[in-house]
Symmetry: C2
Subunit: 587 residues, 2 copies
């Protein structure tokens, strides 16, 4: 009876707790405070002001009509606001994912066609399904195969590819879509065709954007403007250049008079309901791109989400975060959008402008919806070069030479995997490039662990400590070699282990005991087990007794399970180095 | 002046030492003892008796005329005798390499054509070049990417593939060359066409071979026959069934009367001088096969060479061994042969029959040369099914269920990579199968290190030892979490590390200090360095001080080089766990 009452009382929470963790908006909705509202509204507004021109620009970069970028900024933001665990992440179109879309979809359809857009929707569906699936299966750890150096090398190279692809807009050229090197050559060959009016508008836009980005904030602060106004003003630069350039084109009819390319007709109205294609051939062709976007998009998103959350001691659940992003992408697939993720700089702006909850995202979505309902006629005379300028300024800071220099100083192998990724992305394309980068990082890790650090150790004074003979003053016995190997023993380093031991034995003719110290051996795989057994035999044949010392508990459990400890000789396996030395008579 | 004399005296050895290490035959030639001769002659003879039928059988398995197997047993053996470091390795055609040849060359040429043989010669040239190159560049460590379980899974599956391919000979069927599953289905469908005379000869041969292999030796020993005679008698079984079956066919004209397939005309004469093709397209097509043969062949060879050498305290130089095998393969390429390696069972026979030096190999080569000069007419009426029986008996012992069971008990990940290789070789073919096996082994290793063992530790009594709280009775402080992570920190486990630390912090609300104990951390890569920095910030934001304890010397050197130690806070990095606990006030 008591139990029954107890379970009745508990039931509501047993039901609601998993629901709240699946829909984080319910969690913050229950405790929403009135004082959060101003921040959420302001942040939502500022992000919307940034996102309108950015969304159109990134859609063009992805090879899609400009309104697709706006469509991708409505439903995905509403859904992420409900299902995402970050309270300040600003989801939507971003530069690198747009580039991946252009590269992947460009291989299966021609830009500007309905088939192309359809394929982009399908890609969003696939990305959504992959991210949701990984989240539900708690397979988020898979993204860790993208190491930081590989990601940094990829981002830098992608920024260069994006920059170059926008360069043609700035020059007013019509460059076909080519690989990086070909585009560079083509652009140089056609420099003479530069449209100088277009170039001037582009340079002017870049100048205004850079001024707002780097100088204006400081000037306003020095004039004692309230901080609450500084962010909105500096972040409205893209909107400002859009308005100025549009007015200029309309006033002077530059589109007709000087051949300046404009965005043109953008249909008004809410996003259409769309259905992605269920064509297996298309799915197979898009799969590598979908995987790349799922991983790269998630990595970009989770890193900024984590760093912003920790500033307010909030927590990000990485698996739920995958689910949230996945649902946002599913939303994009069914409302005429294309793949989205959490953007780095937009999220920082959102946070700094005071976003307290996912409500800010929803505010942004509503404002973008109003834009596509009522404001699209304004974009008809917007020069494309302005959007190119916005992208150029945004991606310029992604080329990350500082990280490379820092990594090079810290660790040549990491720097090498960064360089491989960077070079491969430029040379063989972005998906293949990132794949080669991941492979390089894995192989470098294997290579590193295949030649572990080995230290011959000796006793420190009369203590029980045994340290590297090359770093410390220690005592050794000529009959005994005590060697510590600083790596788990597995197939890639068994030969190295065997050579190390046999060389030591050959170099010390009077040797009678070899002690292998296993403090740093976290596991021994089947290949290494075979090697230990044959080493024991080889040493025995050479008149040397083989000892193991300081084998860890979990490793020892395994060795016992297969009877290795017995066949090796239990008297030759010691709890610690000191125990081994005492048994041999060297301590 | 003194120096000059000294260098004059030293010069001969300075010249001869590298020469002797490049041509090991010069080393043992200088010290050759008269009492070694009997062993070398006897071993050479016994191996030749085994090798004549085996060589022809393996050549047929590789899709080549029988004499090619004999040609591959002359020049390669002479060259290995000169350049190899093993004194008892018996080089020549072997089953698994022959299968790889059939699979690889079968993709670029039709069996039985001159183009096919030409491609096999080219393959031998490529294998020779790859092995020599790896040996000279001291890149022998690369073969360690073939872990023992992968190799065992591959060998077992290859033995099944070979067995099935020989089964059709035993039934007297003409099965086209297909993948494993297709061959099995085809063979079953055509069982009704079995030639029963052929089947009877095959079963009879197998019975004799098995009797000689497993029973006769013991019987002879019980009858007190000198051991020096037992080996020659038991090992002559293949020759015996060859002679018996040939006599039977000739006497009853079974080839005409009963349709028993015979070897037919084998040209007499020494191996022809041949030149491999320098056709880039062919080279590219054969490259995967050449790499597979180079690696697999070397692995088979080096393992038996090492185990035999250690029995007599001789040394195998793995890089020189690659050079020796490479030169043997180059020899095969220019004398009408096909890829060779050191055979496991033949080498054991060579050793047991008393081979003391490479001279035994040379004796074998001379005897095989005499065979191709004078004895080939004898093989005209030799039934192919006898050769199939010889192969079947030889490969039956390669199916290795014991190793699988042992590995499964020891380590599920190793067993999984063995199973993947085994299944993939049967399902998708042998080169692709071994590639998938290698990839599986690497990924399982990464997966294993991506979820390292983590132990919360406490103080043992009043000592300076800190051990796992779950395995030992220890003291802990509620304000302090001391956690030992048993793995190097790198990109694949940074997220796991971060989650582990943050979970611990969330579970202990009163926590003020987190100590990460790094005794088992052999390196920290750039991704992990970033993670440590952001963890420190995240803990700081949560009011927890982050400490590192017992960082190893080489790891610490790296951290200092990039100023990490300073930015982390030198006062929070401690020499040992005990030092950290004392600084915190918990010891």
């Amino acid at each position: 009876m008591g139990n029954w009452i107890h379970s009745q009382i508990q039931r509501p929470d047993r039901f609601w707790k998993p629901v709240r963790s699946a829909i984080p908006a319910l969690a913050w909705g229950r405790v929403y405070r009135r004082e959060w509202l101003a921040g959420d509204l302001m942040a939502g507004l500022i992000v919307a002001i940034m996102l309108v021109p950015q969304g159109m620009a990134y859609a063009l970069l992805a090879g899609l009509p400009p309104q697709v970028g706006l469509y991708a900024s409505i439903a995905p933001l509403l859904l992420y606001g409900l299902f995402g665990t970050s309270r300040s992440l600003a989801v939507g179109p971003v530069a690198i994912v747009s580039l991946l879309v252009a590269s992947g979809v460009g291989q299966v359809a021609e830009m500007g066609t309905a088939v192309y857009w359809q394929a982009a929707l399908t890609l969003a569906l696939m990305v959504g399904a992959i991210q949701m699936g990984m989240g539900l299966l708690r397979a988020g750890f898979l993204v860790n195969f993208l190491s930081h150096p590989v990601l940094a090398g990829f981002t830098s190279a992608a920024a260069l590819v994006i920059g170059l692809s926008q360069f043609k807009h700035a020059l007013g050229l019509s460059t076909p879509n080519l690989e990086f090197v070909d585009t560079a050559v083509y652009t140089l060959q056609h420099l003479a065709e530069t449209n100088f009016i277009t170039l001037a508008i582009g340079l002017g836009s870049i100048a205004i954007l850079l001024y707002f980005k780097y100088a204006l904030g400081g000037q306003l602060k020095r004039r004692k403007l309230p901080a609450g106004l500084v962010t909105p003003i500096t972040k409205s630069a893209p909107l400002l250049v859009v308005l100025l350039a549009t007015l200029l084109v309309v006033a002077l009819r530059l589109d007709v008079a000087a051949g300046v390319k404009v965005v043109g007709y953008v249909p008004a109205g809410l996003p259409p309901l769309t259905t992605p294609t269920l064509d297996l051939t298309l799915w197979r062709a898009l799969l590598p791109t979908a995987l790349a976007i799922s991983f790269v998009g998630y990595m970009e998103s989770i890193s900024v989400a984590k760093s912003l959350a920790s500033k307010r001691r909030q927590k990000i659940n990485s698996d739920q975060e995958l689910v949230g992003l996945g649902i946002a992408n599913l939303g994009a697939a069914f409302t005429g959008g294309y793949p989205v993720t959490g953007g780095f700089s937009r999220s920082v702006v959102n946070f700094e402008a005071g976003a307290n909850t996912g409500l800010a995202s929803m505010v942004t979505a509503v404002l973008i919806a109003l834009t596509v309902l009522f404001l699209t006629p304004l974009f008809a005379y917007l020069p494309q070069v302005v959007l190119a300028a916005i992208i150029l300024v945004a991606v310029a800071s992604l080329v990350d030479i500082k990280t490379f220099r820092h990594t090079w100083r810290y660790n040549k192998a990491d720097a090498a995997s960064m360089l491989v990724t960077f070079g491969a992305v430029l040379a063989v394309g972005i998906e293949m490039g990132i794949l080669l980068g991941v492979a390089a990082a894995l192989l470098l890790f294997i290579w590193r662990t295949s030649r572990p650090h080995v230290a011959v150790v000796g006793r420190v004074g009369d203590s029980e400590q045994y340290l590297n003979v090359q770093r410390h003053t220690v005592q050794t016995c000529p009959r005994v070699a005590a060697v510590r190997i600083d790596e788990s023993l597995y197939f890639a380093n068994t030969a190295y282990l065997e050579e190390t031991v046999l060389r030591q034995v050959a170099d010390q003719p009077e040797l009678a005991h070899f002690v292998l110290i296993c403090t740093a051996v976290n596991f021994i795989d089947a290949s290494a087990l075979d090697t230990l057994a044959s080493l024991r035999q080889e040493l025995h044949d050479a008149g040397v007794t083989f000892h193991l010392a300081a084998v860890k508990g979990p490793v020892m459990d395994r060795l016992r399970a297969v009877g290795f400890a017995d066949s090796f000789g239990p008297e030759n396996i010691h709890l610690s180095t000191h125990d081994a030395m005492k048994a041999i008579g060297c301590a």
